[in-house]
C-alpha cells in the first residue's frame, strides 16, 4: 500500500494526496450507497420506500420481514424466481461451451480473419442492448422462438458469450503452446489434449467467464422483455413491473436477496479459482 506520503512530499503533493483520497471515497460512496441503502429499507414494516421515523429511532416494531414473506409466498414472484433459475444456468452452460471453443479456436495463429470474427462475437457486449434486443425480437419472431424459453435462453447465451471469450482468451495468452505439442508428442489425440491438458489449465478463466455469463442472464431485463412473453417473466422483469405498477417494497427484499446471492457467488467462485490456480502451480504459494 502506498497510502503513506514520502517525507520529501511538497505542499502541492500533500494537497493532491488528500484530494485523491477524498475523490476515491466519493466514487466508492456513489457506487455502493444505492446498494447499501436498500438493505435496511427492505426490512421496512410499512409499505414505503423511505425510512419511517420509527426506523430512524431504531424502534424494533418499525422493522419486519413482511416483504420477504411476500416474496416467498406471492405466486408472481415465485414464478419469476423459477423462470430465472431455469434460464440462467442453461444460458450459462451454452455460453461457456461455445465461448470456450471460440476462444481456443481464435487463439490459433493460422485462423484467417481472427480479428473480424472476434469483433463479431464480442459485439453483443458493445452494441447497445436495446438494439440487440430489437434485432433478436424480429429475428426470433420469424423463426418462432419469440416468447419461448428456448428463445430467451439462447438470447441470454448470446449475451454471455463475449464474457467467456474475453476471460478465456486472457487465460490463453499465458498458456504455453508447447504443452499441447508435448501432449501430442506423447501420443494424445486432439480431444484428449483438450480435456486433459488445455481445459484444466484454462479452467480459472472458464469459471470467471461462466460467472459473468450467469450474472448477465440473472439480472438482464431489456432483452427478456423483447424476446420473452408473460410466461418467461424473470426476476428482473418482475422487479421492473413491480416498480412501475405495484410500487411494493417487496422489490427491495428481492434486491437484497440478489445482492447477497451475487456476493456469495462471486466469493465462492473467486475462492475456487484461486485454489485451482494454486493447485495448478500457476501462482506462488
Amino acid at each position: 500500500m502506498s497510502i503513506e506520503l514520502p517525507p520529501y512530499a511538497s505542499t502541492g503533493q500533500k494537497v493532491w494526496h488528500y484530494a485523491y483520497l477524498v475523490i476515491c471515497g466519493l466514487i466508492f460512496f456513489f457506487l455502493i450507497a444505492p446498494i447499501l441503502i436498500i438493505i435496511p429499507l427492505s426490512f421496512n414494516a410499512e409499505n414505503f420506500f423511505t425510512f419511517t421515523p420509527g426506523m430512524l429511532s431504531f424502534d424494533a416494531d418499525a422493522y419486519s420481514l413482511r416483504h420477504y414473506r411476500d416474496f416467498f409466498t406471492n405466486p408472481d414472484w415465485q414464478q419469476a424466481l423459477w423462470n430465472s433459475v431455469r434460464i440462467a444456468p442453461v444460458a450459462t452452460l451454452i455460453s461457456v461451451s461455445l465461448g470456450t471453443l471460440a476462444a481456443v479456436g481464435l487463439s490459433q495463429s493460422h485462423v484467417p480473419f481472427r480479428g473480424a470474427i472476434m469483433a463479431i462475437l464480442i459485439s453483443p457486449m458493445i452494441v447497445p442492448l436495446i438494439i440487440s434486443a430489437a434485432g433478436m425480437y424480429f429475428f426470433y419472431s420469424r423463426i418462432g422462438l419469440q416468447g419461448t424459453y428456448v428463445g430467451v435462453t439462447l438470447a441470454h447465451a448470446a449475451l454471455g458469450i463475449p464474457f467467456v471469450i474475453i476471460t478465456v482468451t486472457a487465460t490463453l495468452v499465458g498458456f504455453d503452446k508447447s504443452l499441447t505439442r508435448a501432449s501430442a508428442n506423447l501420443g494424445a489425440g486432439p480431444l484428449r489434449t483438450f480435456f486433459k491438458i488445455q481445459m484444466p489449465l484454462i479452467l480459472p478463466g472458464v469459471i470467471s467467464g461462466g460467472l459473468f455469463a450467469f450474472i448477465t442472464s440473472f439480472d438482464e431485463v431489456v432483452v427478456v422483455i423483447f424476446v420473452g412473453s408473460a410466461n418467461q417473466q424473470t426476476l428482473p422483469w418482475q422487479m421492473f413491473i413491480g416498480l412501475r405498477e405495484q410500487i411494493s417494497p417487496t422489490i427491495l427484499a428481492v434486491a437484497t436477496i440478489l445482492v447477497v446471492i451475487s456476493i456469495v457467488l462471486l466469493s465462492v467462485v473467486e475462492i475456487l479459482r484461486r485454489r485451482s490456480e494454486k493447485l495448478r502451480g500457476m501462482s506462488p504459494g
Binding site: S178, R181, A182
Partner: protein, 366 residues
C-alpha cells in the same frame, strides 16, 4: 558407432524443403540419413533451419516438398500423436497441473497400459534420471535441472526408439549443462535409442554426438563426426562456427595435388596450405588455422614458409596461454599453447616467427 549407410537408415530426410510463406525456403533441399542408435546433432546459428527440421520430424510442421521416412515408412502424413517419437522441449513443457508421476503416467495411459505396469515403468524411468523420490512433487517445486531430468524421463518412459531434443539444456547454467550432457549421452547409449539433438552450442554438439550436421542458411554445410568436423572443416562457415579459428585472406599462388601456396593479400607473404575448396591458381581463398596448431619459431624443414609476427598480448588462462599476435596486417591472430614448464611466455612487442604444418592450414572458400 552407428551405421550411416542409407539402406539401413532409421530416419531419412529425402530432398526436404520447407517454406512458411511460399516464397523463401527455410530449409533448402535437405538430405540426411540417420542410423539406428545414432546420436546426431543438428548444430547451427538461429534461423539456420535446424529447429524447423526437428519440428518436421516431430510432425509439428509439414514439409513443403520431399519425403521424411521413419524406419522405411513415409511419415509426412502421420499426425504427431501417432508417430511415437519422444521429445524433450527447450522449456521442459511439463504439465503444471500434474505431479511428476502423473506427467510420466500420461503417455502410458494414452497407450492404455495397466496400473502396475505403469508404476513399474515410471519408477524405472525416474530411477534412470536419478529422480526416484520426486514422483509426488509438482513441476513448479523443482529446479530447472530437475525439471529437465523429468522431461527427459517423460520422453523415454514410453520407450520410443527415436527421441528428439530441442535445445534441452539452453536454459541451464554451465555446470548443470555439463552434468546433464553426460547423463543424456549415458542414458541414450544405455537404451540404444536414436537421438536427434538440436543445439546452437558447439561444445555440446562436439562432446555428445556421433555425428554433427552443421546447418546454415537452410542447408547442411557439413555432416561429419566431431573430430572430422573440427579438424577438417569443409568450408569457411564450418571452420568459423566450430571452435576458435584464425583466418587469413589471400590468393592461391601455386597449386599441386594436396599442397598449395597462398599469397596473403595484406603483405604478399606466402604460406603453405592444404587445398580444400580451391581449384585453380589465382582463386581467392580464406585460409584457416586452429590456434593450437600454430608453432613458434618452427623447425619445419628447408622449403617451408614462415610468417613474422609481433606479440600484442599474452593472456594467462591457467591451463593454457593465449598469445595475441599481429600477423599479416591482422591483429586478432590467436595462438594457444599448453601451460608446460618449458613453454616460453612472450612479452608484448616481441618479434617472432610462426609456422604450421601445411595440412593444418586449410585453404577454404573466400
Amino acid at each position: 558407432m552407428a551405421s550411416t549407410d542409407s539402406s539401413t537408415a532409421f530416419v531419412e530426410f529425402d530432398r526436404v524443403q520447407k517454406s512458411y510463406d511460399g516464397e523463401t525456403l527455410v530449409v533448402k533441399d535437405l538430405n540426411l540419413s540417420i542410423g539406428k542408435g545414432e546420436f546426431l546433432t543438428m548444430l547451427g546459428p538461429s534461423g539456420s533451419g535446424k529447429t524447423t527440421c526437428l519440428m518436421m520430424l516431430a510432425g509439428f510442421e509439414t514439409a513443403t516438398h520431399g519425403e521424411i521416412r521413419l524406419d522405411g515408412k513415409e511419415i509426412n502424413n502421420i499426425p504427431p500423436h501417432k508417430r511415437g517419437i519422444g521429445m524433450v522441449f527447450q522449456n521442459y513443457a511439463l504439465f503444471p497441473h500434474m505431479t511428476v508421476a502423473e506427467n510420466l503416467s500420461f503417455p502410458l495411459e494414452v497407450r492404455k497400459l495397466g496400473k502396475s505396469e505403469r508404476e513399474q515403468k515410471i519408477k524405472r524411468a525416474l530411477d534412470m534420471v536419478q529422480m526416484g523420490s520426486f514422483g509426488g512433487r509438482r513441476p513448479t517445486q523443482l529446479s530447472g535441472g530437475q525439471q529437465q531430468r523429468i522431461a527427459l524421463a517423460r520422453a523415454l518412459v514410453f520407450e520410443p526408439e527415436l527421441v528428439l531434443m530441442d535445445e534441452p539444456l539452453g536454459a541451464l547454467d554451465k555446470q548443470l549443462r555439463e552434468t546433464l550432457q553426460f547423463e543424456i549421452t549415458r542414458v541414450a547409449h544405455d537404451l540404444g535409442i536414436t537421438v536427434v539433438y538440436v543445439t546452437h552450442d558447439q561444445t555440446e554438439a562436439l562432446t555428445m554426438s556421433d555425428r554433427v550436421a552443421v546447418f546454415d542458411d537452410g542447408r547442411i554445410q557439413q555432416l561429419a563426426a566431431p573430430d572430422t568436423l573440427y579438424e577438417q572443416p569443409q568450408n569457411s562457415f564450418v571452420a568459423q562456427f566450430i571452435g576458435e579459428n584464425n583466418t587469413l585472406r589471400g590468393k592461391v599462388a601455386k597449386l599441386s595435388g594436396d599442397h598449395c601456396v597462398v599469397r596473403l593479400d595484406e603483405t604478399g607473404e606466402e604460406i603453405d596450405a592444404l587445398p580444400v575448396n580451391v581449384t585453380r591458381e589465382g582463386d581467392e581463398t580464406l585460409v584457416s588455422i586452429r590456434p593450437e596448431r600454430v608453432e613458434f619459431n618452427p623447425e619445419l624443414g628447408p622449403d617451408a614458409h614462415t610468417l613474422t609476427a609481433e606479440v600484442l598480448e599474452f593472456i594467462y588462462m591457467g591451463d593454457v596461454f593465449r598469445t595475441r599476435l599481429k600477423v599479416a596486417g591482422r591483429d586478432d591472430f590467436i595462438v594457444k599453447t599448453r601451460n608446460r614448464a618449458d613453454q616460453t611466455r612472450f612479452a608484448p612487442g616481441q618479434k617472432i616467427q610462426i609456422g604450421w604444418l601445411p595440412q593444418d592450414c586449410r585453404a577454404l572458400d573466400p
